[in-house]
Each structure stands twice: as structure tokens, then as C-alpha cells.
């Protein structure tokens, strides 16, 4: 039987240098649950080190936490990779290997805090998470797919760090599972602006960096279960599964 799931598939934690420090996994879970979400994805920049804490702290809530990451390609296009298993760690290893070298400058870019499910600080990530990898977008999409995850083009309506701003148009061979719209986009506006990409599935999410932004924009999924397999079916509009947003 199909059920309705309210999903926000793009949320940053305090591991992302540009996110607020109160975006701890535990507080994100609590807020997401209070706001009535059923599925969220934790998607920090080029790292997944707070995913485990978020998944653990969700245990006592009726909330599915997907394991994600927002990877920056060599063209500086942002791509979400979303999983429901530990293969996010394989992606993390590949991303770390290909992230531009350097150490995070905390005063300029912000802290990159790794915490556990009780909001206790485990340490700092010292990599330049704000930077990009030297992996082309096409390679990132293929890598995510090989690992069994969903590859979603981040905020294609934004003027920076989106596949459209960086590459001008989406090449035919780029088989994104979905294109994401940011909170200020409406379905009506998107239909006139992005009609060239109507063959793709569109989702909308918050890209929250602050607690107040969680669930600011959501996608409604009709699924049998909150899994990647089911979400992929929804993105392909298969067997009654679907995704809608306004």
C-alpha cells in the first residue's frame, strides 16, 4: 500500500562550514520531527561524517534519515548523492581522495564540527570542505549510481554552484535521478523557466543551513516504504510511486 511521505532531502549540519552551529544532528532530527517530516537527508558539503549521528538520534522518532552528501564537481556544480546504507562511506572515501588539498580556515569559512547523537563534539574536520573535488560532474553521477545511490542536481534555479549556472545546460548523457529546486521556486515558475528539462523529475527541498529553514520547502512522496529503491521508483513515476511539490 502506498503511503504519503513528507521529505526534505537537502539539510546541512554543523559539519558544513557555512551552516549554523546549532544544526547538530540531534536538533535537526527533533525539528524535522516537530515539523511533521517523514524523511530527511543529511547532506553536508563533501563529507558525511555527521550522518551516522543523525541516523542514530532518529531511532526514537518516526523519521527516516537518509545518508547523503553534497559533492562539488570540478566544474563547481553541486550534486547530491543520497543513500540508505553505508555505501555513503565509499562515496566519502572517493570524495576525500579527490578533494582539493588544503586545510579549512575556520575564521574565514566557519567551523566543521563532528558530533555524536548526543550533541557531544567528537572533533573537527580539517579538510577544505567548502572547496571542490577534481571529479567532473559526469564522474560523480556515475560513481553515485555505481554505489547504488540517487544523484540529484542541487538547486538548479540558483545562479551559482548549480549544474545550469556552471555548465549552461544539462548535457544529454547526465542521467540525474532528479533536479532540485530551491525554496523560493514555485512549481508554476519552474514550469516556465525550466521547460527544457521537463523530461527530468523535479523535487524541491530546503537546503537548510539554519534550524528555521528545515522543511521550508518539501517534496511529497507516495511510496510503499521510505527507501532509496522506492524513492527511485517515485522519481521514475513507476507503479504508482510519485513525487509532488508546489
Amino acid at each position: 500500500m502506498l503511503k504519503q511521505y513528507k521529505a526534505d532531502l537537502h539539510i546541512h549540519t554543523c559539519l558544513s562550514p557555512c551552516a549554523e552551529l546549532d544544526m547538530t544532528p540531534a536538533s535537526i532530527i527533533e525539528t524535522a520531527s516537530q515539523k511533521g517530516l517523514d524523511i530527511i537527508a543529511i547532506t553536508d558539503h563533501n563529507s558525511a561524517e555527521n550522518v551516522q549521528a543523525a541516523r542514530k538520534s532518529a531511532a526514537q522518532f518516526n523519521l527516516t534519515v537518509l545518508a547523503g552528501m553534497e559533492v562539488a564537481s570540478s566544474e563547481e556544480a553541486h550534486i547530491l548523492g543520497i543513500f540508505d546504507d553505508d555505501r555513503i562511506l565509499d562515496l566519502q572515501e572517493i570524495v576525500y581522495k579527490n578533494l582539493l588539498p588544503g586545510t579549512n580556515d575556520v575564521s574565514r569559512f566557519g567551523e566543521q564540527v563532528i558530533v555524536n547523537e548526543q550533541d557531544e563534539v567528537l572533533g573537527m574536520n580539517n579538510r577544505m570542505l567548502i572547496a571542490a573535488t577534481d571529479l567532473p560532474a559526469q564522474t560523480i553521477i556515475e560513481t553515485i549510481h555505481d554505489l547504488g545511490g540517487l544523484a540529484i542536481a542541487s538547486h538548479i534555479d540558483r545562479g551559482a554552484f548549480s549544474i545550469l549556472s556552471q555548465l549552461g545546460f544539462i548535457p544529454d548523457q547526465m542521467n540525474f535521478d532528479a533536479l532540485e529546486m530551491s525554496p523560493n521556486m514555485t512549481r508554476e515558475k519552474a514550469e516556465s523557466l525550466f521547460k527544457d528539462y521537463s523530461s527530468y523529475t523535479w523535487i524541491a527541498s530546503s537546503d537548510a543551513h539554519y534550524p528555521a529553514d528545515i522543511a521550508k520547502k518539501i517534496s511529497n512522496f507516495s511510496l510503499q516504504a521510505p527507501s532509496i529503491t522506492e524513492i527511485r521508483m517515485a522519481m521514475k513515476n513507476k507503479d504508482g510511486r510519485k513525487v509532488e511539490w508546489e
Binding site: 566544474e75 567532473p136 545550469l164 549556472s165 556552471q166 555548465l167 549552461g168 545546460f169 548535457p171
Partner: protein
């Protein structure tokens, strides 16, 4: 001013389409956002960029640009070169960074 005049001063290596060295150059545009180049470059412009993605060929072809200069010793992949040949888009590379390439080009065009 045509492409031929630029080769030496900009330490250009021609990757594709030597036959179009007589393309008339009307100016130049420097940007790494392809969406911006699509919106703001003009016919006959040289495009200075560090992007090497395949889409640069389509953008240059669509906008009727005189050629692409890829800066900073970056080299386009084989599929990009093939596409450039097929679309007759001139691709050049230079070890110079964008600022220097643009500065030298500006002086040449100003002459």
C-alpha cells in the same frame, strides 16, 4: 585582428581547427560560468576560461565565438577535442592564467 595575430603573444597552443586562424576577433569575454557566457558573450569574441567540460564547445558554437582559450595549462579531454573538431570550434590552450591572458589580449585588441 584575427586568431593568427594572437598565437605568439599569448603563448597559445592550438588544439583544434587551425584552418580557422583567420576568424575575425571582435573582442573577448572572460568567464567560467557557462550560463553567463551564453547570456553575455558576443559573436566573434574570444572566450577565456578554465572550464574544460564538453559543454564549452556547444556554447562557443551556439554563440558564434571566434575561439576558446583555456588558461592555466588545463587541457581538454579527448571527447572535447573531438566535439570541437566536429563543430569546427577553435580551441587553444595557454600556460598563462586568465588575468594575464586577458590583459595581453586587451592590449592587442586595443592596438
Amino acid at each position: 585582428m584575427n586568431l593568427q595575430d594572437l598565437i605568439k603573444d599569448l603563448s597559445l597552443e592550438i588544439v583544434t581547427c587551425e584552418e580557422s586562424m583567420n576568424n575575425e576577433v571582435t573582442g573577448a569575454y572572460v568567464s567560467d560560468l557557462l550560463s553567463d557566457v551564453m547570456a553575455n558573450s558576443n559573436v566573434g569574441n574570444i572566450w577565456i576560461t578554465l572550464q574544460t567540460h564538453l559543454n564549452i564547445i556547444a556554447v562557443a558554437d551556439m554563440k558564434g565565438l571566434a575561439g576558446i582559450i583555456i588558461v592555466g595549462n588545463r587541457k581538454p579531454a579527448e571527447d572535447v577535442i573531438e566535439k570541437a573538431r566536429a563543430e569546427k570550434v577553435t580551441v587553444m590552450t595557454t600556460p598563462l592564467p586568465a588575468f594575464e591572458a586577458a590583459g595581453k589580449l586587451y592590449q592587442l585588441l586595443d592596438r
